[in-house]
Amino acid sequence: MNAPFPAPSPTESTVDAAPGAMLTVRIRRDGGFQAFTVARRPAQTVLDVVTEIQREQDPTLAYRFACRVGMCGSCAMMVNGRPRWTCRTRVAAVAEGDGLTLEPLRNLPVVKDLAVDMEPFFAKWTAAHGAFEPGAVPADDFAVVAPESPERRAVDAGIECINCGVCYAACDVVAWNPDYLGPAALNRAWTLVNDVRDRGQDARLAAVSGDAGCQSCHTHMSCTEHCPKALAPTFAIAGLKRATARAALKRFGAQAFRGPSGRRPS
């Protein structure tokens, strides 16, 4: 398998650097790299480093964060060439020697410095019918969903997505085919395909099919490798491939049964 990023080093250390050690941080800005030097601190995260640079050295540095605890999904960047959530990434685990290279998230337009425009990412979320569709009339009663049912388990496996865009940055198919909906949107669609209350399944399966849809995934697994929430969009996409194939076969069968007139025999 052709990994687009260097494989994670088995010798990754989370041991803090010696007191007094310094870190050289190269940040991609305005088409080049700008270098900063920051003191290494115990339990320091990559986001801590960026914040320190912005507060102490260059207030014009643009980046994005909110929760700082791995919930909001806003702090993702390329760290030494790999997409990561920076608030939960320890410098000690990813620094190469005393160096850190930070770039804006791949596959998305840069707004400024380390802040990217997430609009295309969320537009694809919508295009993949990533919102619950309740149907025209409200259900009469609560739906009973057994926690052990296969559908509920499939939903559980993918529901904790925080929309960080790490998988989207990791995916080569997104880079090659800018229309491709991408792992996060397709993973979300798969959780809804397994939601027994949803009434928009035919339209959703149609939306995730085609040259922009699940069939374009090559099972490279970069998304699954990099997702900080340890989700597996690759398997969600495989589920969509099966579900859309089944639906297409059913349509084909129904068409053959009805004949070219398009009328169902009574």
């Binding site: 040259d211 374009s216 491939k241 639906a247 297409a248 084909f252």
Partner: protein, 109 residues
């Protein structure tokens, strides 16, 4: 890729996997057995099973390969739309014609 093209590519992949195995197995058997070209042609000539097997093999490849080629071209070149689909149909036809012609030639030889 539409779900139907997807099914066609995966379905023909299954046929190809089996056909390639039989194809290679037969070559190894024929070579190890020390058969000459003449002896091989003697067995394939007028052999309906031979023709049916390679007919299916060729048709499967003619369906499978252009679908995959279309994906690659869409990813690596800006080529899209009807002209690409038309070209892939032409590749499919070319593979089918060349392959079936070869199988038929051996059958009739």
């Amino acid at each position: 890729m539409s779900p139907m093209l997807y099914l066609a590519q995966r379905g023909t992949a299954v046929i190809l996997a089996m056909a390639v195995a039989v194809h290679l197995g037969t070559i190894l058997y024929a070579v190890r057995g020390g058969l000459t070209a003449g002896e091989i042609l003697g067995r394939t000539q007028g052999n309906g099973a031979f023709l049916a097997f390679y007919g299916i093999f060729v048709v499967a490849a003619a369906i499978h390969a252009p679908i995959g080629l279309r994906s690659i071209l869409r990813e690596w070149t800006p080529w899209r739309g009807r002209s690409l689909d038309g070209a892939m149909l032409a590749v499919s036809a070319l593979l089918a014609v060349l392959g079936l012609r070869a199988a038929l030639a051996v059958y009739l030889a």
